[in-house]
């Protein structure tokens, strides 16, 4: 039973099955929109919504099915590498006697004599030929037998284990991140100070600038911030995209910006009569007297005006695509103007409830305070992931580019020598190399 489980967990066939399953699930996860409400799936994918919700494919990458596959994969990686290791160490330790698996190079008599000569009278020249090619060599004489050993690329022997170990670390780091990483989104207006939850310091946004390209695209967001601890400015720094601030175990990232349209300022042109055309600067929510007996108030401002079927006004987006303000003007408490005015459609009057015909209002300009959107995050998985990546890369390099090669020559007293060779993969091409290197015939059989 136990050996059955062990065999199952160490088998490369399981790895293949798991790889295929993980590929298939990942494809599903990239096609099914993730992290939506159940109603979303019932509405847009009515036929399979039941299945999606049952299998928790609406957050596939943390669904029990996906996580158990990843967990099984982790065990597979671990046990599979553990299983390989003893044989590899044994190979390195064994220098005499029964040799570990390898192939026997079937030597012709002529070749045997050649090697015999090298081994017994010109060992130095044999060593130097091999050393030139990067082999380490060793000769051992023991109870009438002679052993000659040449090896190179020992890191390559353990390359796969390095790759697998790196991967194990990366997957575990992912688990650590999933459990312990924290993220908070913070929005700052200029001058605003925010306590950082769970920390004993605060962050203040001193200045926020958005730079544009000539074509109007955003070039960069620049937040100049101060870290404040116990009422003292501890540190001042500029945060940009790709240039976070690190402080107190957190990193602060520039994610973007936003505009506080509820506090938009507008510039209006108000015409009370043919002679009286007045420019007014006012903020949303404020009211002000601008002419004997006249008061104006901005009841609401939306950046992207949209009239719902119910008659309610909404904003379609947070971009100023169709800015509109709801303006009220009174004269000695009598309403003389109430209606929506549009910056982009100055002639639009269908939403005016006007009492006096000569009053006209235009929305000339508008602006809103911009806030900087920062994200504070701490992720204890980041360091381990990097370490895992380095191991994995080293493992890949050694696996593919420092292949392990081994040559063993064994000679009983009074008989001709035997030659064995081993390479983790591609024994044939090693054999050809060897034949060229030692000037032998290219004949072998399995040993």
């Amino acid at each position: 039973m136990l050996t059955g489980v062990w065999y199952f967990l160490t088998s490369i066939r399981l790895a293949i099955v798991l790889l295929i399953l993980i590929i298939l699930l990942s494809i599903a996860g990239s096609l099914i929109p993730q992290e939506q409400e159940p109603e979303f799936y019932q509405k847009y994918l009515p036929k399979i919504s039941g299945l999606i919700l049952f299998l928790e494919f609406h957050h596939l990458y943390r669904s029990p099915l996906f996580l158990s596959l990843v967990f099984l994969f982790l065990l597979n990686l671990l046990f599979c590498s553990l299983k390989q290791l003893p044989a590899k160490f044994r190979r390195l330790k064994t220098t005499t006697g029964d040799h570990p698996p390898g192939r026997m190079y079937k030597l012709s008599t002529e070749d045997s004599l050649k090697i015999d000569k090298w081994l017994n009278r010109e060992i130095l020249s044999l060593e130097s030929v091999l050393r030139k090619k990067g082999f380490r060599t060793k000769t051992i004489e023991e109870s009438g037998q002679k052993f000659f050993l040449a090896r190179k690329g020992i890191p390559g022997l353990f390359g796969p284990e390095l790759v697998h170990l790196g991967l194990i670390i990366i997957i575990m780091a992912g688990l650590i991140s999933a459990l312990f990483s924290q993220r908070i989104t913070l929005a700052f207006l200029e001058g605003q100070t925010e306590e950082i939850p769970g920390k004993n310091f605060a962050l203040r946004l001193d200045r926020f600038t958005t730079e544009y390209y000539p074509d109007g695209q955003v070039k960069s967001w620049i937040s100049e911030v101060s870290v404040i601890e116990n009422g003292q400015v501890k540190l001042q720094k500029t945060i940009r995209v790709n240039h976070p601030l690190k402080f107190g175990g957190l990193s602060f990232f520039q994610m973007g910006y936003g505009q506080d349209w509820d506090r938009a300022s507008v510039e209006l042109q108000v015409k009370l009569s043919e002679e009286k055309n007045i420019k007014i600067d006012i903020r949303t929510g404020e009211s002000l007297t601008f002419e004997e007996g006249y008061r104006i108030r901005i009841l609401s401002f939306v950046p992207d005006f949209q009239l719902e079927a119910s008659g309610r006004v909404e904003t379609r987006s947070t971009e100023p695509l169709n800015p509109a303000a709801l303006v009220e003007i009174t004269h000695h408490s009598e309403q003389v103007f109430l209606g929506w005015v549009f910056a982009r459609q100055p002639e639009r009057k269908d939403l005016h409830k006007r009492t006096r015909a000569e009053v006209e209002v235009r929305l000339v300009n508008f602006s809103a305070p911009t806030f900087s959107v920062l994200e504070a995050s701490s992720d204890p998985g980041t360091g381990p992931v990097r370490a895992g990546c380095i191991l994995m890369l080293l493992g890949l390099l050694t696996s593919f580019y420092l292949p392990f090669r081994e040559i063993r020559i064994k000679q009983q007293a009074g008989s001709l020598p035997e030659l064995y060779f081993y390479s983790r993969k591609q024994a044939e091409s090693f054999q050809e190399e060897l034949a060229v290197l030692l000037g032998l015939n290219k004949k072998t059989s399995k040993g």
């Binding site: 790889l19 590929i23 494809i27 990458y61 991140s177 940009r240 790709n242 990546c389 593919f400």
Partner: protein, 270 residues
Amino acid sequence: MSEYTLLLAAFLIYFLVMAMGFLNLFKGKQEISRISWYLAVFGFALHSLSLLVRTVSSRQAPFTSMYESVNFLGWSCVLATIIFIRKYRLQKTAPYLWLLVVALMALASSPALPKEVTPLVPALQSYWLWLHVSVTLLGEAFLAVAFVASILYLLSAEKETAEENSSGRKERLDFIAYRAVTVGFPLFTLGALVFGMIWASKAWGRYWGWDPKEVWSLITWLFYALYLHTRLVHGWRGKKSALIAILGFLAALFTFFGVNYLLRGLHSYV
């Protein structure tokens, strides 16, 4: 000379090299393949110069729009092809590799892909852009070589003729594909996954977010892990290996094109 003139010259040379290669399939003349190799190197030099001119004048990495990325992938494929021809000769495979290069360059020059330089959004202004994209595309170029060799393998498996050297040729295609994967896989791992994770953790504070582009890079990578391990199990050579190498490259192409046009996410810049 302008970047486009240089590019056109390179394109014509690649086309010529391809045509010479296909003609030479019947003739099998050594001199022709030598001459076309030098021609290809010359075309590659012009292509490189064209990229350099664009980089200097735009002062940003030459792979920030779809046009630029396809062009850069084409350039990388030329590099991979030249290296592989140099190392393994590839008399019969080479013209098909050039066919892929020509197809990529033709795609790059299509009017559907705007050619003007677009300024970089804030997230892309980082030296990690250089490392991440160039190494990834370079890796994909070698995976493309494996893709072409694997297709040829399957095609030659179809017409199982009694030709004497047919099995030798198939073994060689299998070997070429494998060698290409052993170059492409580490590069792709480094560029797409490792540099990608490091950059994401620097720009967004998380190294992995299951964004569609990330998921598809992972899928691509898992296909090649599958490729390597199925080979370790006895018997999975040739046909099955070739099929996986083909699927892997299709996944890479989907990461490249499909995710941008069909699936949306943080990564959909170009």
